[in-house]
């Protein structure tokens, strides 16, 4: 079996045809994860590059005309992000800059500028790392993924896309074509917090929060955490606890040093306990489960404080 770059098709149809013929080929998008996984011996793996497939790239406002769209993306107009769009291209989108601060923060935390110039949003999701920085902010945005195959296209909630470390819902013949993100509400706030061992590193824990500020309460709250379970996780029980809470309910106070602090008797402290139960972190080379729990608690405390501070 000859390794190396075998094909560089220009259309999705070609991609499907080639995959049927040569199922041993791995799909190459930006290649930034594949390179690391193959330890510099990428040349020994047969590859099918997606980088010339123009229809996979680009960001545009659009209405999803796909089965299930009415349920999955009830708001109608969305941002459709082609799976092959590079992280740098996304970061250059004014729409992302204005409407999706958590997503923007997450994307700019991935790798270096050189990595972001080639890495794609689709690759970030299909690699299905529990630590993928792109995942938590998209989860809290209620994003859906558009999956394409020769048979057609289908929509799936992003949450159902992740099946385990390195595993997705994609069938053997399918590829991720796009990510659909509902447009933000006027009063939408989103926050993304993460920590690596050094600045340019895989997250050892991350947390994304989105909500509407409403009348000084947390409404439509969504929380998702990365690197603390087999997949990026929505924290639904924690969301439910905090939904509709006011600053007073949360019990947030500001310490003299300027640090926000959740009072022990407040709702936020309970939510922090809930979040650390809801996640399932492991001990690994990067951090212990104990430390990851600590981080998620602190991130939640700080993210909620940030929302009320905005």
């Amino acid at each position: 079996m000859e390794g190396g770059l075998r094909h560089r098709p220009k259309t999705l149809d070609e991609v499907f045809r080639l995959r049927e013929r040569e199922p041993e080929c791995r799909l190459l998008a930006g290649g930034t994860d594949l390179c690391v996984q193959h330890r510099g011996r990428l040349g020994e793996t047969p590859l099918l590059s997606l980088r010339r497939v123009a229809e996979l790239r680009g960001v545009a406002r659009s209405r999803p005309d796909l089965p299930g769209a009415a349920d999955l993306l009830p708001g109608g107009e969305c941002l459709r992000i082609g799976a092959g769009t590079t992280l740098s291209a996304l970061l250059n989108e004014t729409e992302i800059e204005r409407g999706f601060p958590a997503l923007r923060a997450a994307l700019s935390a991935i790798g270096s500028r050189q990595i972001r110039n080639v890495a794609t949003i689709g690759g970030n999701l299909c690699n299905a790392s529990p630590a993928a920085d792109g995942a938590p902010p998209l989860l809290v945005l209620d994003a859906a993924v558009e999956i394409a195959s020769r048979e057609g296209r289908r929509l799936l909630p992003l949450e159902e896309f992740f099946r385990g470390p390195g595993r997705t819902s994609l069938g053997a013949e399918e590829i991720l074509a796009a990510v659909w993100v509902p447009l933000p509400f006027e009063d939408e706030v989103s926050v993304f917090l993460r920590k690596g061992r050094v600045k340019m590193d895989i997250a050892i824990a991350s947390l994304a929060l989105r909500c509407r500020r409403g009348a000084g309460t947390l409404s439509g709250l969504r929380l998702a955490a990365g690197a603390v379970g087999p997949t990026p996780l929505r924290l639904r029980r924690t969301e439910a606890l905090l939904e509709g809470a006011s600053l007073k309910d949360c019990g947030l106070v500001r310490e003299p040093g300027g640090r926000p602090r959740a009072r022990e008797d407040g709702l936020l402290a309970r939510a922090m306990d809930e979040a650390s139960k809801e996640i399932a972190p492991i001990d690994d080379l990067r951090a212990s489960a104990w430390y990851r729990r600590r981080l998620v608690r602190v991130f939640l405390e700080r993210a909620v404080a940030e929302v009320f501070a905005q």
């Binding site: 920590k195 050094v198 600045k199 104990w290």
Partner: protein, 811 residues
């Protein structure tokens, strides 16, 4: 000697253009005709008997030229205790043990062949902790030592201790005493250029090795011994040093992979290259030695140190490489950093089934300085004395003789401490956004005039002047990125009196360069420049002796030419001389006649008489004089050598006494940082690095050395650790092993040089290669204690360790 002109100024590196344009030949780039590629099969177990190795399937693979094992090759002993073998025969003692090797037409075939080699093992009980390894009944790593004598236990037969003064009495006398246990991990030297070599035999059986080494001449000795063991008595090895992508101590020993390349080249009759990729380098080469350090220090009511007691335990791993000798360097800071009258130092080094360690920048010094300096802050706290003040009180002084017998020449430690005091705000201040702010410092002492660990600590140099006025330099030390060649350039340009670009430092090659013990112990510039200064003195004496006869003729010729309208001599690189005032017809040439050698001078490539006329025709370019010396009957060419052995003593390690270096480098670093008490995240706000390096020779290279050292010290302090489980390396790549990057170094560093003018140093300079790294970790640990009120005694000080120190009950 002429006054210094280039020394102390910024000057580009001669090797830089080739490096930045990709022309420099690293071992990866060197190709020999007919070259094969070697690959090595490593052990699958940490401790096991080798029962059977079947290489038949590997041999049958097309493209494979040779498969060798310890059973079908001569036994080549490796390491200074001779208990290691290039290819293991009896048993494997750790997971990196080499058991077979392949030479094939390309690296991929060689790698595939490795997978076809079948090895049958009998797994043996293994031990991975040095304390357990010392217990009775622990699995024995070596049944016999390097000389075949039965061993009694797993202790490495390496004695290094120092006991001076009555420890118990000193403890009783002390008003304050503080003890602590510190632990520092294995870390990777992480050279940008990975390791490798090429071995090639000629038809006479002589060997050439292209090596990534810092010790070409000790490697020649080691490889010649291997040739003897291979039955090639009387054959010789030539070691050619390729461009190095960093050394940091990795090149201080000869390695199993090099001996294996030699065996494969001998078996196949073709050149064989063995190259390590990053992951192999992590798994199969030696990291920095880890250590556990117990320390106790005491002081009197006034803060004067009364004693220092240090006990070191080292996990030696399976074989002895230079990691086993770290205590010989620890001895210096333990006995000599600050004035301390009573010192007890003991070290225990124990074989285990872990990886074994090698040298790395600082060589034992950062390990033990972490304990000394961190514990000193705790002692200051206990005694209620300011942290800067306790260092002032106990500061080393010029002229001091320390307990180990180190004779301190120049010493600018006090000024270094004061620089740290001045450049940071030591008052308590709150951090930003609820973070806690801390300030801390640590001092250091390192060998600054080489370090005598062999009977000879010398460096030879050859300076060969050619017909064009070039100074060809042959020096046996190694340029590995530190800037040695540019420093040699500046030193020779100044002392000889030529322009730097005329000084050409040649690649290091044992066939052409004189002997040098190796580029280690911050000795490169100190040794090379001292040797160069001696050779330059000889060169100038011979040159000026010839000038007595030849100079007048050359002046006359120059004058004649100029009168005939020829171009006047142009000073090298300088502007054309003023032609508006041609010499008068009756210019008196008598000034040049009947002169003594001492009347001549050479500056910027022009020879002249010191009190002669200041006219272009009275200054003769060096190359013209050199040709005049050469092209005549009974002609001569100027080549001079010098062999410099510094004024130092080989210590008696069992007593821990001896003036091991000709000079001592001092320094201090201080840091201001903020730490987030909830995530444990540390942000460095600024650093001060004050170094007493004698005199600055090469400012650009020096800044690089200090900043590079500081970056490595930062990694040591906060990020780096080779993690193992049952002897296997768990994080053999930069995804899982974290080095600081430019992001982590994005704080201002105040670089201060305290110029003390060392009498033994070339131009007053002392060694500066390692010091930048030595005090970094304890300075950070001390700042963290200042911020948090708790002590971190284990490196790296990760956020998790910080949180656990704050909350010891956390589970």
């Amino acid at each position: 000697m002429t006054g210094t002109r280039f020394v102390g100024t910024k000057f580009p590196r001669p090797e830089a253009p080739d490096k930045v344009s990709g022309r420099a030949l690293y071992i990866h780039d060197v190709v020999r005709p007919g070259m094969l590629h070697g690959a090595i099969k490593h052990s699958a177990h940490a401790h096991a008997r080798i029962l059977r190795i079947d290489t038949s399937r590997a041999e049958a693979l097309p493209g494979v030229e040779a498969v060798i094992t310890g059973f079908d090759t001569p036994e080549l002993r490796v390491g200074f205790l001779r208990e290691n073998r290039a290819l293991k025969r009896d048993k494997v003692r750790n997971q990196r043990d080499e058991i077979a090797a392949v030479a094939a037409r390309d690296p991929e075939t060689a790698r595939r062949a490795l997978e076809l080699i079948e090895v049958e093992y009998e797994v043996l009980p293994a031990v991975f902790d040095p304390v357990e390894a010392m217990r009775e009944g622990a699995p024995r790593i070596h049944e016999v030592d390097g000389r075949g004598r039965p061993t009694r236990d797993n202790r490495v037969p390496m004695e290094c201790r120092h006991h001076s003064g009555d420890l118990e009495a000193a403890k009783e006398r002390s008003a304050f005493r503080v003890a602590g246990d510190y632990e520092v991990p294995w870390i990777q030297q992480s050279c940008m250029g990975t390791a490798g070599c090429i071995a090639e035999f000629d038809a006479n059986g002589d060997l050439t090795v292209w090596a990534k080494t810092q010790i070409p001449f000790l490697a020649q000795r080691d490889f010649n011994r291997a040739l003897e063991e291979m039955g090639l008595e009387g054959r010789n090895t030539r070691v050619i040093v390729t461009t190095l992508g960093g050394g940091f101590g990795t090149g201080l020993d000869t390695h199993c992979y090099e001996y294996i390349a030699i065996l494969l080249a001998h078996r196949t009759g073709r050149p064989v290259k063995v190259l390590m990729d990053r992951e192999e380098e992590f798994r199969y080469l030696s990291p920095r030695q880890s250590a556990r350090v117990h320390i106790e220090q005491g002081c009197d009511e006034e803060g004067r140190l009364t004693y220092r007691e240090v006990r070191v335990l080292q996990d030696n791993g399976a074989y002895a490489s230079w990691g086993a000798t770290f205590p010989t360097v620890m001895l210096l800071p333990v006995t000599s950093l600050y004035k301390v009258p009573v010192v007890h130092f003991d070290a225990e080094i124990v074989y285990t089934n872990n990886t074994y360690a090698q040298a790395m920048r600082g060589y034992g010094n950062p390990e033990v300085t972490m304990a000394i300096e961190s514990n000193l802050d705790e002692l200051a706290l206990a005694a209620g004395i300011d942290r800067l003040e306790i260092r002032r009180i106990n500061c080393n002084e010029p002229g001091e003789v320390t307990p180990m017998g180190a004779r301190v020449g120049s010493c600018g430690l006090r000024a270094c401490i004061e620089a740290c005091a001045e450049k940071l705000d030591w008052r308590a201040k709150p951090g930003r956004n609820g973070r806690l702010r801390g300030v801390g410092m640590a001092s250091m002492l390192h060998v600054g005039g080489s370090g005598r660990i062999y009977r000879s600590d010398a460096s030879g140099i050859i300076l060969k002047l050619d017909d064009f006025g070039n100074v060809n330099v042959f020096y046996g030390g190694v340029e590995m990125g530190q800037g040695l060649h540019s420093t040699i350039r500046l030193a020779i340009a100044d002392s000889l009196g030529v322009l730097p670009e005329k000084v050409r430092v040649n690649p290091t090659d044992t066939a052409t360069c004189p002997w040098d013990v190796g580029t280690h112990a911050s000795r490169g510039a100190f040794m090379a420049c001292n040797a160069a200064l001696e050779a330059v003195r000889k060169l100038r004496a011979r040159l000026f002796a010839y000038c007595v006869d030849l100079f007048p003729r050359e002046v006359e010729r120059a004058l004649r030419k100029q009168r005939a309208g020829g171009p006047p001599p142009r000073p090298e690189g300088g502007a054309a001389p003023d032609r508006s005032s041609p010499p008068s017809a009756e210019a008196d040439l008598s000034f040049a006649q009947g002169r003594a050698p001492g009347d001549f001078e050479l500056e910027k490539g022009l020879v002249f008489v010191k009190d002669g006329p200041d006219a272009p025709w009275a200054k003769i370019p060096l190359d013209r004089i050199l040709r005049a010396i050469h092209f005549r009957e009974g002609g001569d060419m100027l080549t001079e050598t010098a062999f410099y052995d510094p004024p130092s003593e080989l210590p008696d390690w069992r007593e821990g006494r001896g003036n091991m270096s000709a000079a001592y480098t001092y320094g201090a670093q201080a840091v201001e940082l903020e730490v987030d008490p909830e995530t444990g995240e540390v942000e460095i706000l600024r650093f001060v690095s004050a170094m007493d390096i004698g005199k600055v020779l090469n400012p650009q290279a020096l800044d690089g050395q200090v900043l590079g050292g500081l970056a490595q010290g930062l990694g040591y302090a906060l990020y780096e650790e080779v993690k193992t489980e049952e002897g296997a390396i768990l994080n053999p790549n930069f995804t899982d092993y974290k080095l600081p990057t430019a992001h982590e170094m994005a704080f201002p560093v105040d670089l201060v040089y305290v110029e003390t003018d060392e009498p033994t140093g070339p131009f007053g300079a002392k060694g500066a290669g390692e010091p930048g790294l030595v005090p970094t970790a304890p300075a950070i640990a001390n700042a963290l204690r200042d911020a948090l009120g708790v002590s971190l005694r284990t490196l790296p000080m990760t956020p998790e360790r910080i949180l656990r120190a704050l909350d010891p009950s956390a589970s």
